[in-house]
Every structure is written in C-alpha cells, then in structure tokens.
C-alpha cells in the first residue's frame, strides 16, 4: 500500500473541505451548516450521538450525497482542486458501519467491487496480492485467506476485510479513509492493531476520519476531535485540549450513576423465587434484572435466542406467552416495515385483544394510546407508519410490544443499540418499573454502563459462561477480566 507522498501538498491545501454544508431531507435538517477540513497527516475523530449528523457528513464527503447547500471541495492527487463527483478520483475511501461486502464472493473477488481497474487477464492475481498485503499490514497475524468466501467468515473477520479493502493499494491510492464505527465487531487486541496502523498511515501523510462510540479509541488515535450535535459541529479542537469528561459533556451526555444505584437499592424487596434455569447455567429470579456481558459475539445473543425459542414454542404460547423478546437489531428482528406504529405495538399482545379470532380494534386503539402516553412515542398519530419514527422511537415501540403482554420474562437482545441518551434513560426507568412489578429481565448489552445496572451478571466467553457476578462484584474491571482469556490460568 503506497502511503501518499508526504509534502505533496502544502498544509494549506486540505484533502477535503466542507464549506457551510447543508443537507435537508424534507423538514429534517441532517446537516445545518457544517464546515470542516481534513489535511494530509490528520486523523479526525468525529463524535456525537446518533442522529447528530455524522453519517450524513461522511456521505457528503465521500460523494454519496450532494449537499442541498454549501460546497464540498477536493484536492486531486495532481494538486488541482475539484468539486462535484470527484471523491473517488481524490482517493477518498469509506468503510461503512453496515457491512458492504458481498457474502457470496471470496475476499479477493470483493476487492473487484470498489476497484474498477481490476479487469482483464490476471486481475484475480493482482486482487489477491493487494488484499493480502493490506490485511498483513493492518492486521498482522490474521488468518484470512484471499480465496475464502466472505459468507463463511466471522463478523470480526468480515470487518477486518472491509477495513483492509479501505486501505488496499489501487491505481488511486487511498489518501483519506473514513472509518465509521470500525471496531464495533473487533475484540480489543485486533482493534489495537487497527489503531496502530491508522497512526502509521497518518504519519506517512494519509488522512483518516475516525467515527466511534468508544471514546478511549478516539483519544488514542485522533489528532483532532470534532463534536457534532443536531447537524452542526459544536466544537473542533486538537485532541490534547479535551478530557473524556469534557467530551461527554460536549455531546450532552449525562452520566447515569444515580440511576445505577437507584435500581439496585430496592433489589432485596423486589427479587423473588427462581423462575428460570438453563442447561448452560443461566438462571434468574422473579423481579430480577440479569445481565449478559462479555465481548460482542461470544454467544450471548445465541444463548438468548435458544432460551426464547425453547420457551416460546407450542400451541399455547401465542395466547399466554411465557417469554417475550425485545429486539436490538430492529430491521432484522423487530420492525414490521409496512405497518403503522399501532399495529407494530400490539403484535405480541394481539391474542388478548381477540374475540373468536376477530381483532377488537377499539380495544387495540385504547392499548396503543395508553402505551404511546406511557413511554412517550413522539408522533402526532399512532396510525402513522412505523418507519416515520426515528430509530430511538421505533425502539420504544418494540419495548412496548413486549411489555404490553403479560409475559413474566422479558428477553432483551442489546436493545439500546443506536439509541440516543434520552431514550435510553426512559428505557432504564421502564425496565426498573417493570422489574419492581415482578417481571424478570434477561438483558444482553454491549455497554458496560448498562450491565452495571443489573442485579446479577453472567459474563460470556467463547460461547460459555465464564463468570457470574452479583451485587458489588459487578463493575467494569471484573467484567473485563472475565471477558478476556488472560484470566484462564487463575480461574
């Protein structure tokens, strides 16, 4: 991979500059006057809540969207300036949050998709060489072969391939690589390899835009941090001028320490007899909030799915559910895209609203209105399509779908994924309220802050439970310790 020649551009010649960019989708102002520049050698950490406009900004920079106002200007490798559809020629690459590989193709074949020059006899050999080299450089010690079919790789390996594709050699060498949540599926050591590589890449004159929820990573790798909020950049300073707490404050984050203690305080009175125990050792008592922790992809979601499927089959389940499920991957596991908010909300509880097979639509509306008020779904009409809601509000509907039922056990598969802080706090309150009313929660979460709110925590490693923590044992240190292999010898 050829790093761009340092000194090829004067520092006053940024790779990309956005000048007062506006992007409106109907009434929604996704970008509301954003100006930013990225120069060679820079690693820009872009942070902000979901919906702050990061993805839109990135899509404007890489040419995926044309801004409705303002300008985007690129510097081409020959030093000339260009606007319009010049992102590719300017050597700008994007690694997206949702995976953009073709699972039916091999690793080397996937390089053919972004690299238009790969054709003619011998293209396959060149592709193999380029992707292997990129993988070796970014993730030394990886075990990915260029001939492997992507569909057969683990989630982490796919993300590694995607990142390597972003940095791989091509006729237009990568000069600015945009990494949108690149480490979401990677474990800590692999993530570190990436951070090391990014630092080197920038030192050699490349530029990176690094978007991550993991503030630690941003601090480690960024040279400058831009904070986005409501479609604007509210702060832009060298990394040294920020502290973690300062950053959190800048984003409008409120630490939820009080909530944590509040939840656990009443645990003694709330928790009753044991209501579930699985073969693999998962157990929970009535009114208890049980967390499933550990690194992403270590079997937590599968354990939940197995438990749910096992307890929810049989003819009587639909009318008297024993367990209900709150999906985190909304598009895949939760939302019915053609339906209204109301129909989405009442789906699980529907049998109780049915007389002689006919749905009582008046009762359904009453239930919908009741939950709309209780959890504050932001819409003027509950008959609006579900897709008219923001992600966080869609998630609330999915919560309501499950909680409206009478099921004593609620299974939650990382339900706060991509949800803003306000909604999160409301959801925590709701969970606490329902737990004190006697419901049991099985809660898989990738965020330590959430896990720390649980009464009991099972840490998963390699598909098995590696530790059970209760009460004061539940803290970040213990969870991390149980998540990583190094504890093997002492355990």
């Amino acid at each position: 991979m050829q790093p761009p020649a340092p000194g090829g551009h004067a520092p006053e010649n940024p790779l990309v500059s956005l000048v007062d960019a506006h992007m409106h989708f109907g009434a929604v102002r996704a970008l509301d006057g954003v100006s930013l520049t990225i120069s060679p050698g820079e690693c820009l950490g872009l942070i902000g809540h979901n919906g702050a406009g990061k993805s839109t900004a990135v899509n404007v920079i890489n040419g995926g969207l044309t801004p409705t106002g303002g300008a985007v200007e690129y510097t081409l490798p020959d030093g000339s300036r260009a606007t319009g559809a010049a992102a590719r020629a300017a050597g700008i690459r994007s690694v997206f949050q949702e995976l953009s590989l073709c699972p039916n193709l091999t690793v080397e074949e996937n390089l053919r998709i972004p690299q238009h020059d790969l054709w003619g006899p011998g293209w396959r050999r060149i592709a193999r060489k380029r992707i292997a080299k990129a993988l070796d450089e970014v993730f030394p010690g990886h075990r990915i072969k260029p001939g492997m079919t992507v569909g057969g790789l683990t989630l982490a390996e796919r993300q590694m391939v995607e990142i390597a594709t972003g940095f791989a050699e091509a006729t237009e060498p990568a000069r600015l690589v945009i990494l949108d949540e690149p480490t979401s599926s990677l474990d800590a050591s692999i993530a570190h390899q990436l951070l090391d590589y990014v630092r080197g890449f920038c030192a050699r004159g490349g530029a990176v835009i690094f978007i991550s929820h993991m503030l630690g990573e941003v601090f480690e790798v960024a040279t400058r941090i831009d904070v986005m909020k409501d479609g604007r950049i509210t702060q832009s300073r060298p990394v040294a001028e920020f502290t973690q707490q300062g950053l959190i404050d800048a984003m409008g984050h409120v630490a939820s320490v009080e909530a944590t203690t509040a939840i656990r305080e009443d645990a003694a009175t709330r928790i009753g007899e044991e209501v579930l125990r699985t073969d693999e050792g998962l157990s929970a008592r009535r009114g208890e909030i049980v967390g499933l922790a550990g690194l992403a992809g270590h079997g937590q979601a599968e354990a939940l799915a197995r438990f749910f499927m096992g307890r929810s089959s049989g003819p009587r389940h639909s009318s008297h559910p024993d367990v209900v499920f709150v999906a985190g991957d909304r598009a895949r596991d939760g939302v019915m895209p053609l339906w209204s908010i109301l129909r989405n909300l009442t789906l699980t509880h529907l049998p109780a609203l049915t007389r002689r097979s006919i749905v009582d639509r008046a009762a359904e509306k009453v239930l919908g209105a009741d939950w709309k008020r209780r959890i504050g779904i932001r819409t003027d009409d509950i008959l609006n399509p579900i897709l008219s809601l923001s992600g966080g509000n869609q998630q609330k509907v999915l919560f309501a779908r499950s909680l409206a039922s009478s099921a004593p056990i609620v299974v939650m598969d990382d339900p706060m994924r991509g949800v803003d802080v306000g909604t999160k706090r409301e959801a925590y309150d709701m969970i606490r309220f329902e737990a004190s009313a006697g419901r049991t929660f099985l809660w898989y979460s990738t965020e330590t802050e959430e896990i720390c709110q649980c009464d009991r925590v099972f840490v998963f490693r390699n598909g098995r439970i590696s530790a059970e923590l209760t009460g004061d044992q539940i803290n970040e240190e213990n969870i991390l310790a149980a998540s990583f292999e190094m504890q093997e010898s002492t355990a």
Partner: protein, 320 residues
C-alpha cells in the same frame, strides 16, 4: 356521516384494487361498443362465472404470496386436476354422492396442501421447488386414476354449476362468498395480522410470538383446498375432468394477485383486487376475441397489459 362518505369516495382511487376494476370496466365497455350494447348481460354473466374460478384459486395464491418472497404455490393446476378427477370418479354420476364427492375433493386439497407443507418444513425445500415437484406427483396420480375416461358429473351438480340464482351465476355466488370470508380473515382476524407479519419479516414475527409455522401450514393447506374446490366446480361445470383443465390457472392465479395490487414481496394484499384481476383477465380476452384478433395477438396483449399494470403500480408507489 357525509364527511366519511366523501372521504371514502376520494380515497377509493388510492385503493390498490381500484385500477383493476377501472380496466375491467373499460374492457367491458370496449366489447359492448362493438356489439352496440347487445349481449351485455350474457357477457357479464360469463365474466362472473369464469372470473369466479380464477378468483377462488387466486385467493389461495394470494395468501401464499403474502407469506413473503419465494412463496408461490405451483401445485395449483395439478391439485385442481386431481381433485376434479377423483371426485367425479367417486360420484360416478350419482346425485346422492354430490356432497361426499365434494368431501373427496376437499380431502384431496387437504392432502396436497399438507404434503406441500411437509416438504417445505421438513425437507427445507424452497416452496417454488417443493410445490413444483409435488405437483408432478399429483399430476401422475390424476393421469393414473383418469385413464382417459371422461366421467360426467351428476346432472344436478352440472345444472347447479352452470345455472344462476336471481340472475347471478351460482359459481360466482360461491366465489363471492369465499371472497367475503377471505376478506374477513385477512382484514379483521388475528390470522390476517399474523400472515402479514410473517410476510414482512418472518424472523421478527417469530420473535414477537407469532406462530409462524402454523401460518405456513394453514396457508399452503388453504391454497390447496381452494384449488381442489375449484377443480370440483370446474370439472362439474365443463361436464367432466380433463387432464389439462388446470394448466392455464397457474399463470392466472399469480397474475390476478399482481393485477389486484398485492405486493409480490409479501406482507400486503387485498381481496377485492383478486376479483378485479380475475374479471380483467377474462374481459381482456373476450374483448380481443370480439374484435376478431387471433390467439397470438391476444396473448401478446394480455402479457403487455400485465406488465403495464405492474409498471404503473410501481411508479405510484415510488412517487408516494
């Protein structure tokens, strides 16, 4: 009250089935234009009769297609033939056996639908292939039991299927009754909700407590039972079962679902559109016939109209 009537009227043209009925009326009018208004009653009665057969199988196919992408019942023609053949053979022209004969036909549908479902569920064969392979077996059974004999239906049954009550063909009355029941199931019952949920996202439906496998079984069995009922009626109507009696209903059953404004991607369908599509399919053919166009042109026009309707419907969706 008046407000709701007005808003209902102004909403009507947005209903997915609206255009099927508009086109049907146009085809009907164009045909009558040629005959200067004569024979309108006969044409309408023929249209209702033949559309009823298409509508009944079309409703079964609609439920299957609503289950989501890849779900199509290709065994409808074979099931129709098998049910028609076996039930007529069983009745042997004996008027006392009309109801048991109907039972035989429906039992064939029940068996075929169950077999289809079992192949899909336990051999995990994609529905298109499963119903296709199974239909070969049903067709063979029909050939074997038919032996080239054409057994006449009991004359009462033949009279019923070709007759009319208060001017409405009896077959059409059966078809309309089934449509009403299907409408209630789809729009008002919990099964319609569950069906739509499965069609939109089967995984999410399962995780929300919807009995997905039950819906699959019921839908495929329902489709086969409706096909077998059509086979029974059609064989009685046309004076005996023929081995190719179902052939044209494969394409028609899919076409009426699409023309009626149901989503081929699943999760969204409507019953009135099935009748609209069925009427349109018949009226187009009779219109082209009355204009003296040959089979070739008729086929080309039919195909072009199907594509035009789908293209127009897609345009509306994307602009909405």
């Amino acid at each position: 009250m008046t407000d709701t009537v007005i808003s209902t009227l102004s909403q009507t043209h947005r209903r997915p089935w609206f255009w099927a009925f508009v086109a049907s009326t146009a085809a009907f009018g164009a045909t009558l234009l040629l005959t200067e208004g004569r024979g309108g009653g006969e044409l309408l009665s023929a249209a209702l009769t033949f559309a009823a057969f298409s509508a009944i199988v079309g409703i079964g196919q609609m439920f299957v297609i609503t289950l989501g992408p890849g779900n199509v019942d290709l065994s409808i023609p074979a099931t129709m033939t098998l049910a028609g053949t076996l039930s007529l053979k069983f009745m042997g022209g004996d008027a006392a056996l009309i109801l048991p004969g109907l039972g035989v036909a429906l039992a064939v549908g029940l068996g075929a639908g169950t077999a289809n479902y079992l192949l899909i569920r336990f051999l995990r064969i994609p529905p298109i292939i499963a119903t296709l392979s199974a239909s070969f077996l049903y067709q063979s059974l029909a050939i074997w039991s038919n032996r080239g004999l054409r057994i006449k239906p009991p004359s009462i049954l033949a009279d019923f299927t070709t007759g009319a009550t208060l001017g409405v063909p009896n077959v059409a009355i059966v078809g309309l009754l089934i449509a009403v029941i299907a409408w209630i199931i789809l729009e008002r019952s919990i099964y319609g909700r569950w069906l739509s949920a499965v069609g939109q996202n089967a995984r999410a439906a399962r995780l929300s407590g919807v009995p997905v496998q039950l819906m699959f079984a019921a839908t495929f069995i329902g489709s086969a039972v409706l096909a077998s009922l059509t086979g029974y009626l059609l064989a009685s109507f046309s004076g005996g079962a023929a081995l190719n009696m179902g052939t044209e209903y494969l394409l028609i059953s899919i076409a009426v679902v699409v023309i009626g404004g149901c989503s081929i991607a699943g999760g969204y369908s409507n019953v009135p559109g099935i009748w609209g599509g069925a009427l349109l399919m018949f009226l187009i053919v009779s219109m082209l016939n009355s204009y003296g166009l040959g089979a070739g042109v008729r086929l080309i026009m039919t195909g072009t109209i199907i594509i035009a309707i789908v293209a127009a419907a897609a345009g509306k969706e994307s602009s909405a």
